[in-house]
Symmetry: C2
Subunit: 347 residues, 2 copies
DNA sequence: GTGAAAGCGCTAACAA
DNA sequence: TTGTTAGCGCTTTCAC
């Protein structure tokens, strides 16, 4: 059982040149589509055929060295298994591929902890730019800062307006849409289960909640806001706290997809009927939302598109354009009504 | 608002050499820990300090060119957002980082479709080896074949025994464990919701199911096996089919995590009480399993570890050792009993 | 103990 | 219209 004969001595540009009877320079310029190159069609054809015949592929390292560009974009996340991140990653992947770039995966925490790793990945020229999904830890604030000193950097899902580029979705509009839906259903007492900590995303979402309420001349008491984190566990705890208090709201907007799953679970465990006793709307759609019990109503935000736009922003910066901040609102937030939201008291 | 001064003219080995008053060769050998190098401690120290002072990091491309090795392992998956794959990816990521390699992400379908992309990623020397998570499509059989001709390749979660290296978990033992658990609970009529198609994983799981039944002198009728795919949708359909047939089993082993979620959902929608009317055990643990309704009992397999071992196998091959097939059974399958499995008829 | 030089494969500038 | 050359930054062999 022979191992496939690898090392079939990859052909170089010089080989192609030799076979075609031209010089390496011509091969390079031709295959890279140099417009200023004037060659006979006949020669052109000869070179193309030679390249084809030898199955020529330019050597990655040589080209990267020469052009001082790797053609690789780094993508650093905390938790690649978070389904929300996954959608962003998929978008980034698609756009990077389209633009001829490859995507290199890195773990933010490892990057922050391991200096040698950081150097190898960020400072060695292995990547031309870095896409960074921060989670709000001190570690990634540091990584962002240091990385931006070395390579173009774009912050994912982040509305900070510093010198580092960023791309965000419209959290405010999303929260407002979700809460308005609940109001339209007839709810008057609507809680907010929010991610804790002083993040701009959090405050946007809270503002959306409050403004939707205000627009309907409803109060938005601070007591109706509880911490729900960004994990199912935290959502479970937050919802439990909310539901075991003496008076409970008739509906809750959960400002995070994973914690919405936990929230649902808590309500189930406490015997609180959804949507009969409590309506729940989550932020961000989940692949599994349609298979939860009950099926979770959500506000969907263009996460894939955000990955795409992040890479687009990166390409701009790689083209020496200045860093920008982009808020994606073309595909705006869309309400996906499933079974977890209904008029108060519906069977 | 000044843009961080990038292009701080990264230092080269020559710069370090100049500052330390030695030649570039010494810098290289010293920093790479060449044992055969004999230098005065004093010189050694001088070079180290110079490197530190200039914040020297070896240029990635130059090194890759010279050594004909990129220090990068490619990872091709169909769907990075599948939580099962995510765990494997996390393991691969961790081990690759540990070994000083970076991970490059690719989409199998894009690789199969776009020849130029394939060349750029696999044939250009951008990656030293490829980890491939196949899904059983014709596309990825092709990718595996062509890729293996160019770079060391390891198949993830695959028990094929051809010339290409592979790593697998013990699907047989897992299925057997899950079904035995159900038997221990008192079930006598246990269905199998399996991934369709002629995959070795599928047949292993089916065999585990059948053998567990046989060991308890129970029949394993083919009519009790239904297709459940590997998506929540497919699981939903499969479970619906199973439950709407005239006589239904009292328990089901679902041989895929995502389809188990759909299966649960179908049972809920049909008003079939779990575990009262039906016990369900899934294969592979999910981050969300503990928050489903009811909480899903599963057999957990060492997925993270599989990612780790896949990279380890790759490292062997990169070290010119022959390709191997590894079945991970050190952390064996473990039963995680939650709320979806109980004795038949329990409240 | 350390320096010098060659060369990995490519591209860009300059010759011819 | 095409060839030649220089050099990207590194490692490695050989010379001193």
């Amino acid at each position: 059982m022979a191992v496939p004969s690898r090392g079939s001595s990859t052909a170089t540009a010089a080989d192609v040149a030799r076979l075609a009877g031209v010089s390496p320079g011509v091969v390079s310029r031709l295959l890279n589509g140099d417009e200023t190159l004037r060659v006979r069609d006949e020669t052109k054809e000869r070179v193309r055929r030679a390249a084809m015949q030898l199955d020529y592929t330019p050597n990655f390292a040589a080209r990267a060295l020469r052009k001082a560009k790797a053609g690789v974009i780094g993508l650093a996340v905390h938790d690649a298994s978070n389904p929300i991140y996954s959608q962003i990653i998929a978008g980034a992947q698609a756009e990077a591929t389209r633009a001829g770039y490859a995507l290199m995966l890195a773990d933010v925490d490892a990057l922050a902890t391991d200096h040698a790793l950081f150097q190898r990945v960020v400072a060695s020229g292995a990547i031309d730019g870095l896409l960074l999904q921060r989670a709000g830890t001190p570690a990634d604030a540091l990584v962002a800062k240091i990385a931006a000193e070395r390579v173009p950097t774009v912050l994912l899902n982040d509305r900070s307006r510093g010198p580092i580029g960023s791309v965000a979705v419209d959290d405010y509009a999303a929260a407002r849409l979700g809460v308005s839906h609940l109001i339209d259903l007839g709810h008057r007492d609507i809680g907010l289960l929010q991610v804790d900590g002083p993040r701009s995303r959090t405050s946007q979402r809270r503002k959306g909640w409050a403004d939707a309420l205000a627009a309907a001349a409803l109060p938005a008491p601070a007591a109706r806001v509880v911490g729900g984190g960004h994990t199912p566990e935290a959502g479970y705890r937050g919802m439990t706290a909310l539901l075991t208090s003496s008076d409970r709201p008739t509906a809750v907007f959960v400002a995070n997809s994973l914690s919405a799953v936990g929230a649902l679970s808590a309500a189930n465990d406490l015997g609180v009927g959804i949507p009969a006793d409590l309506s729940v709307v989550g932020l961000h759609d989940l692949p599994l939302a349609d298979f939860l019990h009950p099926k979770l109503s959500v506000v969907r935000l263009p996460l894939f598109e955000m990955g795409v736009r992040a890479v687009a922003l990166m390409l701009e910066q790689l083209d020496d354009k200045p860093a920008r901040h982009e808020s994606i609102d073309d595909p705006g937030p869309v309400l996906v009504v499933r079974a977890s939201s209904a008029a108060p008291g519906t069977r």
